[in-house]
């Protein structure tokens, strides 16, 4: 049976000893110090630090051991199956990490003549992404999917303002099955969020949508395939309804993996599209970033993209950063984007080629349907919505029958899966499925592992019906057993930093 490492590793502030250090710095040459002395000593008292920061004092060896031990208590794609729905945890090719190190010492303000190589890569990547999404131009700047959404929503706003419509078009429509980032991005961009319900098939209820659109509509944000893994087959009618009302259509690219080189958001009528390179294009997610969330837009909207755009001057045969864009919304971050991530995506597309991307899409969908078919047979799980229709890259099961019959919840199932050396699916999302388990296998998993996952869920179902407490108290084989998440957030018990913990000392330090 699986057993994760358990190092009982203390918080780093408890480690080390006075006077130790893990790194030495280049010294100041004597010729300099003779001339200047220690300049920092002459800082005015009003601004000079008078007490060293309370950082731990560790030797290099201790730092290495601490963090390597921590790494062993962390589960990643390289360790096993990671069917976290909506997150597309596919394999992250090692060659791409290797190549990414070769731009580590490039400064963003270097003269363009010294950065032609990286500019060409970024330019070409932006063209490929435009081709894949069926859009006219791509901005590589957003740092993450939600950042792309914010930018996209701001572009909607800019477009309506350009047309003299901004005061009127204040509503952004999102389906009830949307990712949480959609409504949050809409609010940040100053819109009132209007939620439309799903129909019996889990898709946008066209009649409700038609009733919701009006001259106040700024646009609609939609994921297709949606968060149930179901293709919005009425997309043509949806697009027409929104466009007819004068709104814009935004594509949340979280689920792009299912349709690469099969169908393009731009062709379906989407005006703005974001992509999550850390999902669809195989760049590592780093435990929560850095990612990259480029957006592509249709021709009419290119003028609003943030500055600079990476452009090619055909006459002078050079790539350059184009700041000369009058209608640009400005900037959403410093510099040009998460370049180390973008370079990895470039290498990924080189490896896959057009045909490989299509195959990735197809196999991700095949894998999801293969799982769906078998999981449906397991006692306690139910597949709501769109009976009989194929799923795309993911499927969403409900553990409601199991909960009713045994008291074992989706959360418990998720925790128990960890004991078998696999990561859990996404739970309790989308909100329109009770006790949801959202499963996305991706194309990176072998059939044998899919079969093993099915066996694990069968086993857990058995456990739930015979010994529910076993599942409810899971996990057992992880670095720690089930954590009290309420305690971490309660104003009376929370300890959000070592400093706060020491001041309050409420969490009894039960560790080593």
């Amino acid at each position: 049976m699986f057993q994760q490492a358990r190092w009982d590793e203390p918080v780093i502030f408890k480690l080390g000893g006075r006077g130790r250090r893990g790194c030495d710095l280049p010294s100041v040459e004597d010729e300099i110090s003779k001339l200047t002395g220690i300049v920092a000593d002459r800082l005015p008292r009003t601004i000079k630090r008078n007490q060293l920061p309370n950082l731990p004092e560790l030797s290099e060896v201790e730092v290495v051991r601490h963090f390597i031990r921590l790494s062993q208590m962390n589960y990643g794609v390289d360790l096993g199956f990671y069917p976290l729905g909506s997150c597309t945890m596919k394999y992250n090719p090692k060659i791409n990490d290797l190549l990414a190190t070769s731009i580590s010492e490039l400064h963003p303000y270097q003269d363009e003549s010294t950065a032609q190589g990286i500019l060409e890569i970024l330019y070409t990547l932006s063209r490929w992404l435009a081709e894949i999404t069926g859009t006219s131009e791509v901005s590589l700047q957003p740092s993450a999917g939600a950042h792309g959404e914010l930018l996209g929503a701001l572009i909607m706003r800019a477009c309506h303002r350009f047309n003299g419509d901004a005061e009127k078009r204040t509503e952004l429509i999102v389906p009830d099955s949307a990712h949480g980032t959609n409504p949050a991005s809409g609010t940040m961009a100053g819109f009132k969020v209007v939620v439309v319900p799903s129909n019996r098939n889990g898709c946008v209820d066209l009649r409700a949508l038609k009733a919701a659109v009006s001259e106040r509509t700024a646009g609609l944000m939609l994921t297709n395939p949606n968060t149930l893994g179901i293709f919005e087959e009425e997309i043509d009618e949806i697009a027409e309804a929104v466009h007819k009302a004068g709104g814009l259509l935004y594509y949340d690219g979280a689920n792009l993996n299912a349709i690469m080189d099969k169908v393009r958001p731009g062709d379906m009528g989407f005006d703005i599209v974001h992509m999550n390179l850390h999902k669809t294009f195989g760049t590592p997610h780093g435990g929560g970033g850095p990612g990259a969330g480029p957006i592509g837009v249709c021709k009419e909207l290119t003028k609003f993209l943030p500055v600079p755009q990476i452009a090619y001057d055909k006459k002078r045969r050079r790539y350059f950063l184009d700041y000369d864009r009058r209608e640009s919304i400005g900037k959403v971050r410093s510099f040009y984007g998460n370049v180390a991530v973008l370079l990895r995506a470039y290498a990924y597309i080189l490896s896959m080629g057009g045909e490989g991307l299509e195959e990735a899409a197809e196999i991700s969908v095949l894998n999801a349907n293969y799982l769906t078919k078998q999981l449906k047979e397991i006692r306690g799980f139910d597949l709501p919505y769109a009976e009989g229709r194929p799923r795309k890259h993911e499927c969403v099961f409900s553990a409601k029958p199991m909960f009713k019959e045994t008291g074992v919840r989706a959360l418990d199932v998720a925790k128990r899966i960890l004991d078998y050396g696999m990561h859990s699916p996404t739970t309790y999302f989308p909100l329109i499925v009770e006790e949801a388990l959202m499963i996305e296998p991706t194309e990176s998993v072998e059939k044998e592992e899919l079969d093993r996952f099915v066996d694990v869920l069968k086993q857990i179902s058995n456990e739930a019906y015979t010994n529910p407490d076993l599942v409810k108290k899971a996990p057992y084989n992880t670095a720690v057993t089930r954590l009290d998440e309420v305690k971490a957030s309660h104003p009376k018990t929370m300890a959000l930093s070592w400093r706060m913990h020491q001041k309050r000392n409420i969490i009894k330090d039960a560790g080593p």
Binding site: G16, C23, L25, P26, E29, T36, P44, R49, L52, P53, L55, E57, L70, S71, M73, N92, L99, I103, L106, H107, D111, S113, T114, Q116, G117, I118, E131, A144, G145, H147, R157, G180, A184, T187, V263, H278, G286, G287, G288, P290, S334, V339, A347, L350, A360, N367, Y370, T372, K415, T426, E443, T478, A479, T481, L483, L496, S497, R499, M500, I507
Partner: protein, 468 residues
């Protein structure tokens, strides 16, 4: 030769396996899985994408392209302005290459993600120690977007419509702030500076600040490198009108500069890139975000926060995401921010970097940088017609160099430096601050040797004397 059909990243691409799986789900053709896609949208042509190539070919191709770049390793480079060259210890690169960290997602299942969670808690805790504040989140995208988020947070707290910023601010941060607060219809009011010292014009500030001021923002060290020594007075002026005081920092200065929490900052933001993260052509960066430990503030914080807790059984300490009800996946349109994916791995890099340096190392880093900066300024000023810095205030690692009296433009001088001497000058800021004349922003850190600085000075001398 035809490339094998089975891509190494796709195990089930083997035709027999594919067939077997299709059989199992009762289809004959993959297209059946796309039957619900309207026919007219299905792509029926070859997209304009590259042909797949092997790993070896990818390596050759990408490396050949990248050889066209010239990096800061190949030429002494004096650029900073929001992205700074510092030594990144090998240990840091080693730790962030651990694929257990690298290939994990957001730690939604804390029991199996303790490594990442503890590392992020330690990062937050170290940022708290540097800033002297009680709470830090586990990262924003960068300093610029953190500024946008900080001002929005201030508005959530006091519901006011104006923010005051210094006129000397990084233009990219200013532009990002504009983008972030535009939907709130906020007014951004810049406050001028003393032409001698660069310091904020306090009279101007008092004039601007009012009951409508949501926050007063300063950068310390400032965009143009000098230290804002009046920070305490600025805090007082902001607090007199119950506005929040937001301070933006370069954290490498916090071994020698007073932590903003000690001079009244309510929110501290900044750029964590110089703490163990490479330049990477400007991304990824690492947005710092910390605030005072009052519930009123904490509840309005954007981003992910990791907290300490115990197991249900109570016998072990552990870590998990805390206060998630602020976040988009729970609160949706009422969330404090839409941020989800952030820069977690860069935060791990910074935690390990700070652990390596320790308190003494961080202090030394500040001292070394400041001393070398002083040397560079002294030597540059010895050149006829060159003045460095323009402002009479302490400078930590960046400084203005003015070339007005040389009669040359910054652009021309920098081109000559680069093309004739293989030295990359600083950032030309003469368009950003026309009132400062032909001025550039230079950066010197611990990675610049005396030789690098001397080479710059010698090259400038030669250029200005009209010699090669």
């Amino acid at each position: 030769m035809q490339r094998p059909h089975v891509h190494p990243y796709i195990p089930n691409a083997v035709p027999e396996i594919k067939r077997e799986m299709m059989q199992q789900i009762g289809i004959k053709n993959i297209d059946e899985l796309y039957a619900d896609v309207p026919k007219k949208f299905l792509i029926n042509r070859k997209l304009n994408l590259p042909e797949p190539i092997s790993e070896h070919e990818i390596k050759e191709h990408v490396e050949a392209l990248l050889r066209r770049n010239k990096s800061t390793m190949n030429m002494p480079t004096f650029l900073g302005a929001g992205c700074w060259s510092h030594h990144v210890p090998a240990v840091v690169d080693n730790i962030v290459s651990r694929t257990e960290f690298l290939t994990s997602y957001t730690p939604y299942q804390p029991e199996v993600s303790q490594g990442m969670l503890q590392a992020m808690f330690e990062y937050q805790s170290m940022i708290c120690e540097l800033t002297a504040l009680d709470v830090a989140n586990s990262s924003m995208y960068d300093w610029a977007s953190a500024l946008g988020e900080a001002v929005r947070m201030a508005v959530r707290i006091n519901n006011r419509a104006e923010v005051i910023v210094p006129k000397i601010i990084h233009p990219e941060r200013y532009s990002t702030l504009q983008t972030y607060v535009e939907p709130l219809k906020m007014k951004i009011k810049p406050v001028g500076y003393n032409r001698e010292t660069g310091l904020l014009d306090l009279e101007g500030l008092k004039h601007q600040v009012s009951e409508n001021t949501a926050a007063v923002y300063i950068e310390n060290p400032s965009y143009l490198g000098f230290v804002e020594t009046q920070a305490e007075e600025i805090a007082q002026i902001a607090h007199d009108k119950t506005a929040l005081f937001i301070v933006g920092v370069d954290p490498t200065s916090l071994g020698i500069l007073k932590p903003p929490g000690e001079y009244g900052a309510d929110i501290v933001i900044g750029e964590g890139q110089p703490l163990g993260n490479h330049l990477n052509y400007g991304g990824p960066l690492l947005g710092l975000f910390a605030c005072r430990g009052e519930m009123e503030l904490i509840r309005q914080m954007p981003g992910r926060i990791i907290g300490m807790t115990t197991t249900h059984s109570g016998d072990k300490t552990g870590f998990c995401m805390a206060l998630q009800t602020r976040e988009q996946h729970i609160r949706r349109e009422r969330a404090t921010s839409n941020i989800c994916t952030n820069e977690a791995l860069c935060a791990v890099a910074s935690a390990s970097y700070l652990a390596l340096l320790g308190p003494q190392g961080l202090k030394e880093l500040g001292e070394i940088t400041m001393t070398k900066t002083q040397y560079a300024m002294q030597e540059l000023t010895k050149i006829k017609g060159v003045k460095a810095p323009l402002f009479e205030a302490p400078h930590v690692k960046e400084f203005t160099v003015n070339f007005d009296k040389t009669g040359k433009r910054v652009r021309a001088l920098h081109q000559a430096l680069l093309k004739q001497h293989g030295v990359h000058g600083g950032k030309d800021v003469s368009k950003e601050f026309p009132e400062l004349g032909q001025t550039a922003l230079y950066c010197v850190t611990e990675v610049h040797s005396r030789m690098d600085i001397d080479r710059l000075v010698l090259a400038l001398r030669k250029i200005l004397r009209g010699r090669r």
